[in-house]
Assembly symmetry: C2
Homo-oligomer: 517 residues x 2
Amino acid sequence: MNKQILFSVTLASLTIANGNAQKQNSLERVSRQPNIILFLVDDMGWQDTSLPFWTQETHYNEVYETPNMERLAKKGMMFTQAYACNISSATRCSLITGANACRHRVTNWTLERDKATDRSSETIQVPDWNYNGVSQVPGTPNTFVGTSFVELLKQNGYHTIHCGKAHFGSIDTPGENPTHWGFEVNIAGHAAGGLATYLSEKNYGHSRDGKPYSLMAIPGLENYWGTGVFATEALTQEAIKALDRAKKYNQPFYLYMAHYAIHVPVDKDMRFYPKYVRKGLSDKEAAYASLIEGMDKSLGDLMDWVEKNGEADNTVILFMSDNGGLAAEPAWRDGTPHTQNYPLNSGKGSLYEGGIREPMIVSWPGVVAADTRCDKYLMIEDFYPTILEIAGIKNYKTVSPVDGISFMPLLKGMGDPSKGRTLVWNFPNIWGNDGPGINLDCAIRQDDWKLVYYYETGKKELFNIPDDIGEKNNVADQNPEIVTHLSKQLGNYLRATGAQRPSFKLTNKPCPWPDEI
Amino acid sequence: MNKQILFSVTLASLTIANGNAQKQNSLERVSRQPNIILFLVDDMGWQDTSLPFWTQETHYNEVYETPNMERLAKKGMMFTQAYACNISSATRCSLITGANACRHRVTNWTLERDKATDRSSETIQVPDWNYNGVSQVPGTPNTFVGTSFVELLKQNGYHTIHCGKAHFGSIDTPGENPTHWGFEVNIAGHAAGGLATYLSEKNYGHSRDGKPYSLMAIPGLENYWGTGVFATEALTQEAIKALDRAKKYNQPFYLYMAHYAIHVPVDKDMRFYPKYVRKGLSDKEAAYASLIEGMDKSLGDLMDWVEKNGEADNTVILFMSDNGGLAAEPAWRDGTPHTQNYPLNSGKGSLYEGGIREPMIVSWPGVVAADTRCDKYLMIEDFYPTILEIAGIKNYKTVSPVDGISFMPLLKGMGDPSKGRTLVWNFPNIWGNDGPGINLDCAIRQDDWKLVYYYETGKKELFNIPDDIGEKNNVADQNPEIVTHLSKQLGNYLRATGAQRPSFKLTNKPCPWPDEI
């Protein structure tokens, strides 16, 4: 019990918390730590917005209306190469622990305890990944144990609010409940990574007797049942109530506004749906657009709250999505599958850009220059050290290494932590859908180059991302040295972080690492 | 922010937490930390039980039926001289922070923010006490900032459950919500220190539209509204659901079962009320007896859960009350006021034994000898270091000094931390009722002697507690040296801990300390 391997820097954060709390007779907020809002959208693609993140305006930029994302971008910095994992669980586990998915091994989606969610294959055995998700405490099999940055925020004086989708740990594991991660308030968060329905008419997934009819019924919104309030709006109203209360506490707050939107089912948000029908969109596409604009309205409501309450100058807002837009399921979208994130290839589940590149914006008055763009790349686990740095928490201990690197230099326009850096994705799993770049693969990005490696076939693809953002031209054959270099880098990273790989059922041997072939 | 004054011992508890969590692949529970249940009853007097805590069986011992307290006592150790504060808020703030009430200054009861609850006096001005309660974070006026031992339990691997009355901080302060104190689960706890009603027929204090009609409406029990389930039972059922869930987490748990019972209103728990009417009790007394037995049934249900779930050998149960039985309000009790805690004098609000001596039992199979009694005295803030020691948490930092002393030596029958120790109470306030030993006083216990000092009159009373448990014979005049010694000890403690005293309105001068007169 006394033995310990501790990672990261020197002082225990508790010490800092103590230092703060010691000023018990001071009524001033400690050193004006800024409020922080992380606005995380679910399954939102890079182009699911009227705000152009590409060099050109796309069809979808013209179709969708996200005036509040535009408003936020005017106040802050757009990031055009912000990456997450290809699947929600992996992203959220990286976010809360700071670990890359190679390390935390929650690589596919989680829901029920002790149940892997991979489709089966006749030829490939997926590894025994962490399908129970992440936890702050040991004792659960197939679980990665990490330290929550929210816990650290709380210990350092923040009032911490969770609103929406949690999806950190499987049902009946300690990670299932946001309060186990340092959140003092939990609105509607639990194990599930999706929702039964956005509709209050269906009690968000509960029958008339009040019992959930789906594991994905949204909990905690009983007051809105039958009111006609769309889930996105109900969550927003609850978040604002929590902010009203937070203001009384005279603490800096951390609001994790983790919308269930725009995950399927693509229900119609009737506040916006008719407009898109009038614009000529199909039923499905108008419904999808209504999900997006409902989410955007929520962003605007939170920005309004911050402004009306005199907190605008002291509030950092980070906007992000958790993986690419869903493009593999024709039931939910019109058009040719895997094209809905154009100019990016593929979508959610894929290691192509369509699955991992996210719309990201950060506003921080007085620190981040207004109306700017940053084309440097960064990764979802970078939010961990960045948010702690924003909060002024410089010394903290964690039970597992933090793979993320603070992007504060990018925010301040002082330095480039991306230069030469490798970003790595690993998906030794089989998701529910197939498609370009989806399943049994891993990938690495370094500067302009990206290598995708397929475990089963040994195939390697090399793309020059700035030249070929759509990843249509595999230039591996023309650049053998780059392929070798990136394969080695990728293999080293995978092994160093304890990443998993699939095996061949025929031989029971593991698939080769990318630098073994 | 880096300056800090830290109290207590050396290592940051977070370090230990990290050490534990590091064993991320171990499925064993860390070092078999025991489960801990603190069963805290509200306003329960020393004789409100069939279990005799005095040397003789009393009338009330014969009238009331608490078979599960008897059952618990058979498994563990009864403490016959366990003390709390004279008022609930003071006790609960001492419990959660480890500070004596002299230090935390939450000496009267709290409810609404920035509102003192003292009755006014023509002659005396009460001090500006901490009527906003306690908090883990600074920033609220009239608030004591302390470190919660529950937070430390959580950081050291415990799953932490709050059920029932919280009453740590006033409404709209950070201390109002148990989740701000390290509780991962909060069932029905908020700022209020009482309850509107135990009756589900009255929705525990909510109108038909679901809105509370009282600041003391019990929150969070919506599922029991209109079901006929008494609040005590509803809380018990919810606690057991939380334990069922805790078991899945493979963590040690801390359950703080903080009943609203047996606080007024003295509603009838109809499961038990008729029996007491048949026994010949008056309507009021039968109702009071039913509150007691309903609470006792809850204790039994929790003991049953522990036994049925194979956790009996690894669970510590601590039974305690928060102040003496209410004896000052004829509306709620029959008989002569201030006699209902016989053989003790007075009751809740008083610094006589009737206001501060509590029924206490501790069971811990394999550690605490079964069916034993301990006559050594201890104080409510002692629970703080004791519970942390039970949990094996030896090194932790707190933002304010811990005045409590572990009673582990008493539990193990190895040593006597009470010998020569001084216990101090301070009540520079004016409560809602008058009576023996109530209002504007302070007191000290050392070995057999107890001195009570009255701020306004300067009167000093000295009692030999073993000889005169009813505090009827003031022997101050016969023992001037003891009076002087205890006055000095008391004055020193009050000043050293920053205790407050009232002032004379006429002169605007503070009342003398006990050793100044």
